[in-house]
Symmetry: C2
Subunit: 275 residues, 2 copies
């Protein structure tokens, strides 16, 4: 199934634009899981069980696994997503980008080793560093465009003939790299004005939106700025705001995900809240 169709189905089946970030910081694990042999996996299973009904996607951040040599727990977590939430997309957040033969190896890591549906990629090295991630019609590449972090503007906002770099990245990605319609952009919730400009310039390109919650992004502004004409076009990620709710207790996680889902759908034309 082509990636764009897979994305649409994930959103339709869940009735949701929520993406749950699986970023298990070992210093913040729920106390009752600290003695587990595979604590990251146990925590992820809890999160997946609690959120499967309202998650259109899951986004594990690979750094939290690779820092500890726990790649196997990432593999097992993704397997668990496939069992419990077969409709959901799995986005490997690894922000890869390298020369051709190395990018091929990274694409193999994301799509074969982990079986991800999509992977985040960094555009700084240009087209040949991104192409290998776009070669599979059923898998997507999500290109960093305007990120959510404090230093995002250091280079992304620099003006090139009057247009900031992040707009140049979006232009090139949309016009030249997206033949298979399997490309998305990372656009941070912390910069709604920039998101609005990107939506006007790219009315049909889907955005992955980090920055809600712990990073301070405002949901209402994000929806106003980023929804497409059909009230779709976004996957809105929350990691810390969901997974550490109530200290990481299952019921708190479930409630936090449901509340985000409800708030998002309140802001989408034609959607009923909580459905």
């Amino acid at each position: 199934m082509p990636f764009a169709e897979r994305l649409r189905r994930a959103q339709t089946a869940s009735g949701s634009l929520v993406c749950v970030g699986l970023d298990p910081d070992p210093a913040k694990l729920p106390p009752d899981l600290l003695d587990e042999r595979a604590a990251l996996l146990a925590f992820n299973r809890r999160i997946i069980d609690a959120t499967a009904a309202v998650a259109a996607a899951y986004k594990p951040q690979i750094a939290f696994y690779s820092a500890l040599g726990k790649e196997n727990e990432l593999v097992d977590s993704i397997r668990y997503i496939r069992e419990r939430a077969p409709h959901a997309l799995v986005i490997l957040d690894s922000k890869r980008g390298d020369i051709g033969n190395t990018a091929e190896a990274y694409a193999k890591e994301a799509f074969e080793r982990y079986g991800a549906d999509a992977v985040t990629v960094n555009p700084y090295m240009g087209e040949d560093s991104v192409r290998p991630f776009l070669a599979r019609p059923d898998r997507g590449a999500i290109v960093l465009c305007r990120t959510s972090n404090p230093g995002a503007g250091d280079f992304q906002d620099l003006l090139i003939d009057g247009l900031p770099l992040y707009r140049r990245v979006a232009e090139r990605a949309d016009r030249h790299w997206n033949q298979l319609r399997n490309l998305m952009l990372v656009v941070g919730a912390t910069y709604p004005a920039e998101m609005a400009q990107l939506r006007r310039a790219h009315p049909t390109l889907p955005f992955l939106v980090p920055g809600i919650g712990a990073q301070g992004g405002d949901l209402a502004s994000t929806l106003t700025a980023g929804l497409d004409a059909d009230g779709d076009g976004l996957l809105i990620n929350s990691s810390r705001g969901i997974i550490y709710a109530g200290g990481g207790a299952a019921e708190s996680i479930r409630a936090a995900a449901l509340e985000l889902h409800r708030q998002i759908n309140l802001g989408r034309p034609g959607r009923r809240a909580g459905t």
Copy 2:
């Protein structure tokens, strides 16, 4: 020992500017190693044995290990470098870059899990995405500046008030991020004119230079463009040109590394070839 001193000692002890890239493509392993249980490690041990005398640094590209789930062979390869070439730097080529708490996890991956001396990082996300890699005075961050690949110019050459993006990256890195003198730049051998501009603008900043050999970079032009006033300031990487020499036979690897070393020192003022 501060990173800058560690770099200087690695170059002095080896009398060399050679960096050997440990990028073991499983499709190109020497035939006699195909049946080894840990074939990547066996190949790396052969390469390290053959090149220890003339390598100032080793640069494993993590993608070739992580694509196959062979992180343990990378750990063991780095341990073997420490035994056989204790003077040499280990550069983890992983081109990481992410928001603060994630960048911390990636720094932990590079410096604690793998015990690398330096790590390549991508500047697109700005200062806070690079800072965690610069926080340890004895470890270095090597910032992508002007890369060696065909698409490098897609964004890196875009002009901002008359100066290309890669020059803006170098400026900010040199002026604002390098308080501990533990920052280097990645500058590709395939673009000697750009390298010469960078050297003029940043006379003392060390460059890691990929692109010699398989990628087509010319060594003489690189030396002319990139050496600093003392005939230092570069680590010149060769991966495929060394490790697949003669099909990956030890003697061919040794000869290829020695020849690169000799050619480099012929072009350095005051160095005797082959020493």
